[in-house]
């Protein structure tokens, strides 16, 4: 049996951590509260140990690992690189297309495969539809966290239409196994383009309605403005990415700054938080960046559908995937939550030697103790909601 090494014990919420009052007639003490793994608004099995002084948070210690499924160890025992795709799906289960694409992209670059143009366009359409679906979940559950139960139902109606599109193409609504290494598993069905155009036309006014109902609601603004402010330099130092980074005012989007696929041919703008309702980098900024991003996704989808070329989507799928020995690559893509990166090392056999998945939610969550200090418990719920974590990606 391996012996664990002796650890430095400067963590534990022991007696010295909690401040008790001295010299007063009534003894006061800070309280430790456990926002346990099961909780309606931690968006999954996340445990937050909070030290509070009344309602003000003094310290917040996240405990993760409740959903750890040993993704990286499994990858080392796969018999084939294609077999990893369904497992990669299940990492960030709310945004599965982007996971698959990141892994497929990494392997294709390692093998130097050129995929047909049609495959690129379809991948972009699927990823953007997935981004809208994922942001709809984020926005809907954010409404519930703040007490507005109704926008959740409205966003899920819109999401149903996207899931219908996915089901029409690959048969699955949530976990697709669609983007394969070198191509796609199925081509688009005949009615897809028409239905996608209908969806775009249907969704634009719904976005405006959602904004009126939730984003610009006086009470919602009061709850989220100036709450959980993430300054720009802290964000970059903590390697935060995605809407959270853009909400803090950093104009960084991997689709434009480290381009992959055909994004450089399409016209769209990354959305940046401007501190409209409070400070730059507060919860409201992150929320409105997600709302605006959904609109930009609609633009991308329209352009991609308009420029969709003909081709065979399965032409470049290799029969044997065997990269060279000591080949390694790190590829980063812009998933719905931020920078999703895969670092793959090969040893010349058909199964990967090492796969490291850099999940954006994992990194974005690590900044929570910094920005939650000094706020109230009610704020903590909203801050955790604005980070938009999916525990499958945090724990892998």
């Amino acid at each position: 049996m391996l012996q664990p090494p002796t650890l430095p014990t400067n963590y534990t919420v022991k007696q010295g951590h909690i401040k008790t009052s001295t010299g007063k007639t009534i003894r006061t003490e800070e309280m430790i509260i456990n926002m346990g793994p099961q909780h309606p608004s931690t968006h999954g099995v996340l445990r937050l140990e909070i030290v509070v002084d009344g309602e003000i948070i003094v310290d917040c210690i996240p405990h993760i690992g409740y959903l750890h499924r040993c993704f990286e160890k499994h990858c080392e025992h796969m018999t084939n690189y294609q077999q990893v795709i369904p497992y990669a799906d299940r990492m960030d289960y709310c945004s599965a297309m982007t996971n698959e694409w990141a892994f497929a992209l990494a392997t294709e670059r390692m093998l130097k495969i050129e995929v047909p143009e049609r495959v690129e366009y379809i991948r972009v359409i699927m990823a953007e539809l997935q981004r809208i679906a994922s942001h709809l979940i984020a926005v809907g559950t954010y409404g519930i966290d703040s007490g507005a139960f109704t926008p959740f139902l409205y966003t899920f109606i819109d999401r149903e239409k996207i899931l219908d599109l996915f089901e029409m193409t690959c048969g699955a609504r949530l976990l697709y196994n669609y983007i394969w290494i070198g191509g796609l598993s199925h081509d688009l069905p005949p009615k897809f383009v028409e239905q996608a155009k209908d969806f775009v036309r249907y969704f634009r006014p719904r976005l405006k309605m959602l904004n009126d109902l939730l984003s610009y609601n006086e009470i919602f603004v009061k709850r989220t403005a100036n709450v959980g402010v993430l300054p720009k330099d802290v964000a970059i130092n903590y390697a935060v990415s995605g809407p959270q980074l853009r909400g803090s005012g950093v104009n960084w989007d991997l689709r434009r700054d480290d381009p992959y696929s055909i994004y450089h041919k399409l016209e769209w703008e990354p959305q940046v938080g401007k501190g409209e309702m409070g400070t730059v980098g507060d919860c409201w900024d992150r929320h409105i960046v997600r709302m605006h991003e959904m609109e930009q996704c609609l633009n991308i989808i329209e352009q991609a559908i308009a420029g969709l070329p003909e081709g065979n989507v399965q032409a470049a799928i290799p029969r044997r995937i065997r990269p060279e020995k000591d080949a390694e690559i790190y590829v980063r893509t812009e998933s719905s939550r931020g920078e999703l990166g895969f670092y793959i090392v090969s040893d010349g056999t058909a199964s990967p030697f090492r796969v490291k998945a850099r999940g954006p939610a994992f990194v974005n969550l690590s900044v929570l103790p910094e920005i939650a200090k000094g706020g109230m418990i009610a704020d903590l719920v909203l801050i955790a909601g604005s980070i938009d974590i999916v525990l499958g990606e945090v724990d892998r």
Partner: protein
């Protein structure tokens, strides 16, 4: 900036701590001009100094640590791979350090980038690499009283955990 230029600047500054640049076998797709895989080998006890330099030097300004991965090379060597990026200059670099099984100590870079805190905890959790000067090195993904480091190549899963049979 290209990796060779970065290596030259680092060599001038740190001398012995750097050992070599190597081009990996994967060159990257030519159409996108994506050649990222040159990596710089640095010593395990100088990582913090070198990373501070990389972050603060005005020509390089690697202010973004994309990924920090633990590695087990299956021949008694372990290591850590750092993927750095710069938001200001938009360039990237890869650093690698190695350590042996008897001396699993690598200097922590959590003072340089706040994100390294959790990444290093994860590397410790899954590989057993001990990061010196880390403010709070304990397990992250696995329970605190788990035995062993699962991602090692020679890992044998434990029989029982709190009375529950683990392998099935």
């Amino acid at each position: 900036m290209k990796a060779q230029e970065i290596f030259d600047i680092l060599k001038a500054q740190f001398g012995d701590a750097l050992i070599e640049t190597t081009i990996s076998a994967a060159g990257g797709s030519a159409s996108v001009g994506y050649a990222m895989q040159l990596w710089i080998h640095i010593a395990p006890d100088k990582t913090k100094e070198i990373c501070f330099f990389l972050r603060d030097n005005s020509a390089m300004q690697f202010d973004y640590l994309s990924c920090l991965s633990g590695m087990d090379y299956n021949n008694g060597t372990f290591g850590v791979v750092y993927h750095l990026a710069s938001i200001i200059h938009k360039h990237k670099i890869v650093l690698k350090t190695f350590c042996t099984k008897d001396n699993m100590h690598i200097q922590s870079v959590s003072a340089v980038w706040g994100t390294a805190n959790w990444h290093e905890r994860e590397a410790f959790d899954l590989y057993g690499i001990i990061f010196d000067e880390h403010p709070d090195l304990r397990r992250l993904l696995l329970p605190d009283d788990w035995e062993g480091h699962p991602l090692r190549k020679d890992y044998k899963v434990q029989e029982f955990y709190h009375g529950m049979k683990v392998p099935y």
